[in-house]
Symmetry: C2
Subunit: 456 residues, 2 copies
């Protein structure tokens, strides 16, 4: 609870863009997945960096936590006010500040969504390719080091954030990065803040790398006789040095759910959905090589969609897969979890996970950005059944430990939040305490998104 | 000076791999460029991580600075013992520990050089592409966030280090990164240590990304009627989305020096040296597009070397450019400096720098990795002339400030060391103090490479 003095001081900064309305607070206490905890004491809607800086000074003075909020689509409870405090909703800081086509850069505010950004870029011939599926905000995507379907070619947020403006815990405003394509001038603060999940500061501006819209695009879908065959085809594709723009795995359950939800008629078998971008001649060569690899792994029905509307339909179905899977068990909620392993361990990781889910008694379709070794299980539970929820959480925990045993990571793209925090020690060992030391150096009062990512 | 107790304790760790021989100390007080200061009290040659950890504990106990040393090729005095202390020469930790072709990863010790690594990789069909020119060690390249000719396609050390083992100031050993291609599991410690120049810890192992050796390679050299025409051709190339593997600018003075030193007969005009890597069909398309762009910018003598020996001769000449330029003024020493600017500002930056050098009265050929906006001036001075040295340093300072004015960085790839430290505040503002706070969090006694990169 905020005391009257604190509330009055906060109102002096934000006026009627401060809300303590119970309905709004409840809305900001929800998460996209089953992860839930806490409830903010207030929500503010800043218009400018100096308001965020004033907010940080207020937070230090009154010892109140600050939690950044983008689109609310994170999956590990990143934006939940686990110890109360003020949620900073960046809805009104959503402008494109500058497009620099000659340098392939764009400067944006954190609240803009990736779809809105790409709409604004359309006429320039450039695009921002990182696509986590959800229409997340760029601030949230940077904070969680998001990636998604296109990371296999274009990289993750780590690779596509050139610089940041950040408000630190004490209200100082710093800028990281420059307009130059590279730099050796000191610690890589941009990389430190990307993926820091609001625990080191609040991102108030981003400079992003843009990429040329591809001249030519080919998308294909292919069914495989087994999970192993499809995953082995991915491994062979990556080891040959082909660079698909996307290469997605959908297991038979996911395909069935997508068929029902998106009115497709794909064979109910493991499928790869693959896309290549390029200049026409190079693209034809990539497509031909992938065709040979797919055939060698027993693919059937390899169907190249070169019309934009067919491609759009396929990718719309892929993006709707999460909702399709949810709809496949009415009333269910999802424990959504992701891991990422070395490509050489991908088949083992997927097969062991499938077997583990199969014996658990709850449905758990698997799909993922397998060119990166990254896959998801969407574990469907009856939220009223403590047993099912516990079973799903135990499965997710075993997935994380399996990924570590195979040389991978507990999360390829969803991040830590507080959902994955119990796994951090197992992944990082002594390095987790180093993260804690860095956190204390920049946020000695522990007010920036407490309860997330770092040790207590 | 080390006292007898400290020296005895150090000898207990390293035995006869500890040296205080004056000749050896003097050798480790030298730098590749004119930057010089300080002299170590001792040099040690560790064989294993646990020795480095014991060394760090010794350093904390006896309050003695530690300075990592690779090949001694850094250009801003990174490895100089400005406050005395112990230089840690990684010469004997130079093994390839594991090659994982299926994951395109290699695990190495820090003392291996990039040429030795690529020799060991040759039979695998893979390569480590980052090439700063000098035959630097991988530990040094990571510590300085090196890049070089191929970064325009393959990225810098930021992009090619997947994970590290680091000995911290207190002797703790941590591991960063995993074998998975990406991760969202917490702060990006790998990125924090890459470019930290030994000020946060000593790198004792690296896991590096490998790339497929290109199926087809085409190299060309072309003369341009002016600096502006050649730089505009680079800008057009990058803006068209072509991805040369290298695209190097050499001004007329550099070309003349290379002709003399490497027995070439290139026209004494600004030249671009460009290379494309790829599959045959895609490569032909890239080459054809570059040919058109070069012609449109007035290039003459565009000469494609598709034979390996011709390519080797050209790149050998490029790599020898530094020595060629030094040889062009007998007895001279070089103030070597680099800056990096947004591509859109590259022509302005190069032209203004040339004009500035021209009025200074000292020779200063310009060359660089212009696809990244990165270029170097090699300012040739009589080391006995205080006036010339001061003139060169003033020129370098103006280059750095010009790069900042144009939205770039004071160093694209050489790093900060102590040579560029006076420019850090101008580039980073309040963020420089943030770097200092991070440094204090991990090295509270200030013993890891003191006097470099961060504020005092």
């Amino acid at each position: 609870m905020l005391d009257d003095t604190a509330l009055a001081a906060l109102r002096a900064i934000f006026g009627d863009r401060l809300s303590v309305a119970p309905a709004l607070l409840a809305q900001h206490a929800q998460s996209e997945s089953l992860v839930s905890a806490g409830r903010p004491d207030a929500v503010v809607f800043p218009h400018a960096t100096d308001e965020v800086a004033a907010l940080a000074r207020w937070s230090s003075t009154h010892r109140v936590p600050l939690i950044g909020w983008g689109a609310g689509t994170s999956l590990e409870g990143h934006a939940l006010a686990v110890s109360g405090g003020v949620v900073v909703n960046f809805r009104d800081m959503a402008a494109v500040l500058e497009i620099r086509p000659e340098d392939r850069l764009v400067r944006v505010q954190p609240g803009i969504t990736r779809e809105a950004l790409n709409r604004e870029l359309r006429a320039t011939g450039l695009m921002f390719p990182v696509d986590p599926g959800a229409n997340a905000t760029l601030g949230g995507m940077a904070a969680t080091r998001a990636s998604g379907t296109t990371a296999v070619r274009y990289g993750t947020m780590r690779d596509n954030v050139r610089g940041l403006e950040v408000v630190l815990a004490d209200g100082q405003v710093i800028r990281t990065g420059t307009g130059a394509p590279k730099s050796s001038a000191g610690y890589d603060l941009t990389a430190l803040f990307v993926g820091s999940e609001g625990t080191l500061g609040l991102i108030t501006e981003l400079t992003l790398r843009l990429h040329g819209q591809p001249e030519a695009v080919m998308t294909a879908v292919a069914a495989f006789p087994s999970v192993a065959a499809s995953v082995d085809c991915v491994i062979a594709t990556m080891q040959m040095g082909l660079t698909p723009a996307r290469i997605e795995f959908l297991d038979a359950e996911t395909v069935a759910a997508c068929n029902a939800y998106s009115h497709l008629s794909l064979p109910p078998a493991p499928q790869l959905l693959v896309e290549f971008h390029g200049h026409p001649a190079g693209l034809a060569e990539d497509v031909s090589r992938f065709r040979d690899l797919a055939a060698a792994h027993g693919a059937t029905g390899l169907d190249w969609a070169d019309k934009a509307e067919d491609r759009t339909r396929l990718w719309a179905a892929r993006h709707a897969a999460y909702r399709a899977i949810l709809a496949s068990r009415p009333g269910a909620k999802a424990v959504v979890t992701d891991v990422c392993v070395p490509i050489s361990a991908l088949a083992t990781a997927v097969e062991e996970t499938r077997a583990d889910i199969a014996t658990s008694g709850i449905p758990g379709p698997i799909l993922g950005h397998v060119g990166d070794g990254n896959f998801h299980a969407i574990l469907l539970v009856d939220p009223a059944s403590d047993t099912e929820v516990a079973t799903a959480k135990a499965l997710a925990g075993r997935m994380a430990r399996r990924a570590l045993r195979l040389g991978g990571t507990i999360t390829g793209e969803h991040g830590v939040g507080f959902g994955k925090r119990p796994c951090m020690q197992a992944e990082h060992g002594a390095a987790w305490a180093v993260m804690g030391a860095l956190k204390r150096a920049l946020d000695p009062l522990g007010l920036m998104n407490p309860g997330k990512l770092v040790p207590d």
